[in-house]
């Protein structure tokens, strides 16, 4: 099937920034190389491999994502899903046999929900708390906390690539699983970009206005606000006081970042504002035209935010329930507005028409990833190296095989931060003894200099949860149908060791 990539995305992704302003041309190479910060860029999307179940049918594995069934060099053909990665395959490591084991700890309300619990666990590697909160911070936040360098910089920022406020956002968490720094703006990309660069916009002002003077006095105002919260807390009951204390914690963070006026920004920083978003994307409801117009600009915003050092951990997520992406289907979308999710569920057999309908979307995600990597490679960092060489790019999803809600075989792709891959890039790695998302994220932390051997929950499934563990007495097929492959038992350890990177 031929796939139509959005015009701008195509030009950027495959043409080396032909159509958009050339980022490299905006930033001059420094005369004296400085030490560049490390960055982390996480991309996530819904429904994992989108097509297939991983099972064998007529001798063929139902899968369109895996470049190979064994570890080895990546070939130019990659896989149907990952074909757009071919131009950057030497910069990439694809990883298979990674499982969201913690999902199988799910307890409480909607514990059986095929999406909710994977979402709540795939980035934290912890079960939800008894009162329904995230069990801990997500990997982007933990990495960002270590890299941020200054309280003046958010640990992590989550930018929604398409309509936000959807279930996938709920997987991201800050300290102790608190709400993340999400820029969704109800699907208004222009507002999201304005917020992203809000801290550096005052430097662009030439004529002082009421607003610019007000922004310069943020610290003064926030001092007063902080005193109000401190004053009222003693009048409240315990639960309300805790709520106000939480507000005070984040208020202190905001004050530290934004309260002392415009932050110092790298000379190469070129802030964006919402006016760079095409008019069609400045709306609050989802539409394919909205995404087609906005996403290329959002990709640019992600890269520029890293250049501006606004944050050192950035997320681009595609959380929407309805990514029908009409623009991928010039002959007319085979989907109807809200049947995307059903289409995924009908794609377990990778040979059927429904599966073919879904494939272009997977290819499109790969195109977005490629575009991100190429843009990072096109920027020269302050140390004279490519921004890509100082940035680890990780792509994961909430599920493995989406058609069956499977949480094993999560698709994982890494790129950038070449020095962190002692065995080199351009490889496909099948974890020999399988690996958990906890293993993967611990490895990410080690790639940034950490000594972590675990991430999230530790021990075995049974020792941690003590509930909702299955012995698969009903047989492997039954277990697989219920998201419990045979290797997932109460005795399964939540960490299985380093990946072979």
């Amino acid at each position: 099937m031929s796939v139509r990539i959005g015009r701008r995305l195509f030009l950027e992704g495959t043409g080396g920034l032909l159509a958009m302003p050339l980022l490299e041309s905006l930033w001059s190479r420094p005369a004296h190389a400085a030490v560049a910060p490390r960055r982390f860029l996480l991309m996530t999307h819904r429904h994992g491999r989108l097509v297939g179940t991983g099972r064998m049918k007529n001798g063929v594995r139902q899968d369109i994502w895996a470049p190979s069934n064994t570890s080895g060099p990546l070939t130019e053909t990659m896989s149907p899903f990952l074909a757009p990665l071919a131009p950057i395959r030497q910069e990439v490591v694809t990883i298979d046999a990674v499982d969201n084991l913690v999902r199988h700890l799910a307890t409480g309300v909607k514990a059986n929900d095929g999406h909710l619990f994977p979402t709540f666990t795939y980035l934290t590697a912890r079960n939800r708390t008894a009162d329904g909160k995230l069990g801990g911070p997500s990997i982007d936040y933990v990495v960002g906390e270590r890299l941020r360098g200054s309280a003046a910089r958010p640990a992590s920022i989550v930018l929604c690539g398409n309509t936000g406020n959807s279930v996938l956002i709920q997987g991201f968490g800050g300290a102790n699983g608190t709400a993340p720094n999400v820029l969704d703006s109800g699907g208004n990309a222009a507002m999201a970009i304005s917020k992203l660069f809000a801290g550096v916009q005052p430097t662009m002002m030439t004529t002082p206005t009421v607003r610019s003077r007000l922004q310069e006095r943020r610290g003064l105002v926030l001092d007063g606000v902080e005193k109000d919260y401190q004053a009222i807390r003693s009048q409240l009951g315990t639960a309300d006081r805790a709520r106000i204390d939480q507000h005070l914690t984040f208020l202190a963070d905001t004050k530290a970042r934004l309260g002392s006026g415009p932050p110092a920004i790298p000379g190469d920083c070129r802030p964006m504002n919402g006016t760079e978003i095409p008019a069609v994307a400045r709306q609050y409801s989802y539409s394919s035209a909205h995404d087609d117009a906005a996403i290329p600009v959002l990709i640019d915003a992600v890269v520029r935010a890293l250049v501006c050092d606004i944050t050192r951990s950035m997320v681009l997520t595609f959380p929407s329930d309805v990514p029908t992406f009409d623009f991928l289907y010039p002959g007319g979308s085979p989907f109807l507005s809200d049947v995307w999710h059903t289409q995924i569920h009908m794609s377990g057999d990778s040979t059927v028409r429904q599966a073919n309908n879904v494939k272009p979307t997977g290819i499109w995600y790969a195109q977005v990833f490629t575009s991100l990597v190429q843009k990072l490679a096109a920027v020269t960092d302050v140390d004279g190296n490519r921004l890509l060489d100082n940035t680890l790019v990780l792509w994961v999803s909430d599920l493995g095989y989406g058609p069956n809600h499977y949480c094993h075989d999560i698709p994982v792709v890494m790129a950038g931060l070449k020095s962190a891959f002692p065995k080199g890039q351009g490889r496909h790695v099948v974890a020999p003894n399988r690996a958990s998302l906890g293993d993967l994220y611990a490895q990410v932390l080690r790639m940034f200099g950490g000594t972590d051997t675990t991430f999230g929950a530790t021990g075995t499934l049974a020792s941690v949860a003590g509930v909702r563990t299955q012995t698969c007495d009903n047989g492997i097929a039954w277990c697989a149908d219920h998201g419990y492959p045979g290797f997932i038992t109460p005795d399964t350890p939540l960490h299985l060791g380093p990946l072979d990177l």
Partner: protein, 538 residues
């Protein structure tokens, strides 16, 4: 904080279909009301948590504070997800996180700039060189509204400190008022609903009660009349409180809140033309969607004000304009009028509800059945298992199956049938209504659909021959009354009921029964009860 947010199912979405099409872990019938050893003769306040106000409440409050002369910022952080009750005011949904405080600051700056620009209309004494007394005047009028009471001396001093700091730094009056407003708009007094500590049940202060009333009935702040009544102690008397309740319920400001109560209870989000398949429903343009939405909101407000529970569930009269009347097949009208729509019993037969409980192409008997069983009768339904779609995909079905054929196939699987045998029949009663709630004599294949069935409640079976008799059966169930009481409780207190609420719930159920099912009587009974006029910390 992600909190208790749960999977947000867009009505009519395929996700919703999954949620309903799958096997539910049915845990039985409606849970009995908690019967703790409480002495119901002693008034006791319900436990209420403080919370940040929601986006709609914020926008309404800004408009009310500044008399509509200042536009609210659209940067104010909205609620996240859907909580256990389904109502958008649950505290966990508005807890702050890493970006929330940033957004609150940006929204406050928007408001500061807007007020600065509108000062000539807001404050006659304002000009670039105006004195601090003008700022005091601002606080007397607008500060009192924002704080929902007179400011204490300390609060006034705190806000004026910001004003003075700007003036001291060389800013003019306009700059100082922008900063003062930005400060005010971030205070806990404005953006939170907070009440003083109550380790034991205590009466609300007059100001607290006024604020509670305004938030529950208007989703906003008290107006000057309510603040004055509170200041004069009128809310302490039954007559004074009743007079304010009558005034507030009659006010147009109550319309959006009463509509929100029914929308969130019945999981009926506003219908957009783009929600449905354009090829199949070309008549659903923005104007018709707007008519359907407005009709529902009008129906909700009028039912809560003047209707009964039986009427809410069974009445075949509903508001319609010309476009909607045509969709309903009612007699033509030229302006908004109550029309008779036979075969459309109560809210469950309203096009807004039918369209919400439908897919893009067709109605959903599962979603509609779930609405009847879960939302209207509070029957316990669990979540679908992870393999629901796998099981569903393997069910034997004829080509182009009817909903009833699908239902029968589902029920052949014993695990599915444990829930679906109860869930599907009431949904199939509405099978002749398409995805936009339009009655179709036959389906697209020309078949006349059988809409008769049996409602299974508490092991009893009740026959019905279509939507009207079904809803008559539903309205006759004690569970309908109990369920309404629970939904009203959840809406009012923004949480699920607990062990300590048995007296409140029993009184509410009795209020519904003893006043011929009057919804208004139930609401006023609750809002004048000790549960509401007192508080205790959670």
């Amino acid at each position: 904080m992600v909190g208790q947010v749960t999977y947000r199912v867009r009505p009519g979405s395929a996700l919703g279909a999954l949620a309903a099409a799958a096997m539910f872990a049915c845990t039985g019938e409606i849970k009995p009301a908690p019967n703790g050893p409480l002495d119901c003769s002693v008034p006791r306040g319900a436990a209420v948590s403080g919370r940040r106000i929601t986006g709609p409440e914020y926008r309404s409050a800004v408009r009310a504070v500044f008399e509509g002369k200042v536009a609210p910022s659209d940067t104010y952080p909205e609620s996240r997800g859907v909580g256990a009750t389904g109502f958008s005011t649950e505290p966990l949904l508005t807890d702050v996180g890493a970006s929330t405080v940033d957004d609150l600051m940006l929204a406050a700056e928007d408001l500061g700039v807007a007020v600065a620009n509108a000062l000539p209309q807001l404050l006659p004494c304002a000009n670039a060189t105006a004195a601090e007394s003008c700022a005091q005047t601002f606080l007397d009028k607008y500060g009192r509204r924002a704080y929902r009471r007179q400011l204490t001396g300390e609060e006034r001093t705190a806000l004026l400190s910001t004003y003075r700091a700007v003036r001291t730094a060389g800013g003019d009056f306009i700059d100082a008022m922008a900063a003062l407003t930005t400060h005010l708009a971030q205070t806990p007094q404005f953006i939170y609903r907070l009440e003083g500590a109550a380790p034991r049940s205590r009466a609300l202060t007059d100001d607290e009660l006024a604020s509670r009333l305004a938030m529950v009935l208007w989703g906003s702040i008290p107006d000057d009349a309510l603040l004055d009544a509170a200041a004069q102690g009128e809310l302490k008397t039954a007559a004074g409180l009743s007079a304010q309740l009558d005034r507030m319920l009659a006010a147009p400001a109550a319309d959006p809140t009463l509509a929100r109560f029914l929308r969130e209870w019945l999981q009926t989000e506003r219908l957009n033309a783009s929600d449905k398949d354009r090829a199949l429903y070309p008549q659903l343009d923005a104007a018709l969607a707007s008519s359907i939405n407005e009709s529902f909101d009008r129906l909700a407000a009028s039912q809560v004000r003047d209707g009964t529970l039986a009427g809410l569930l069974t009445s075949t009269r509903l508001p319609a304009d010309a476009k909607l009347a045509a969709l309903l097949g009612a007699a033509p009208v030229t302006s908004w009028t109550q029309v008779e729509a036979p075969g459309r019993p109560g809210v469950a037969g309203h096009p807004a509800v039918l369209a919400a409980q439908a897919h893009a192409q067709k109605g959903s008997f599962i979603l509609r059945g779930r609405l009847v069983m879960s939302a209207l009768l509070c029957q316990s339904m669990g979540a679908p298992p992870a393999n629901a779609m796998t099981v569903f995909a393997g069910l034997p079905l004829p080509a182009d199956p009817t909903g009833r054929e699908v239902s029968e196939s589902i029920n052949q699987n014993s695990a599915c049938a444990s829930c679906h045998r109860r869930l599907n029949p009431p949904g199939l009663a509405f099978e002749r209504y398409d995805a936009i709630g339009q009655l179709q004599p036959t389906d697209r294949s020309g078949r006349t659909l059988d809409v008769a069935g049996q409602l299974l409640v508490h092991g009893q079976s009740y026959d019905f021959d279509g939507p009207s008799t079904l809803m008559n059966v539903v309205a006759g169930q004690d569970d309908a009354r109990v369920c309404f009481a629970r939904q009203l409780f959840r809406f009012t207190f923004s949480r699920l009921e607990g062990e300590g609420d048995s007296c409140t719930l029993t009184a509410l159920e009795q209020a519904v029964a003893q006043n011929d099912g009057s919804l208004r009587a139930a609401l006023t009974t609750l809002l004048t009860s000790g549960s509401f006029t007192q508080r205790v910390d959670p």
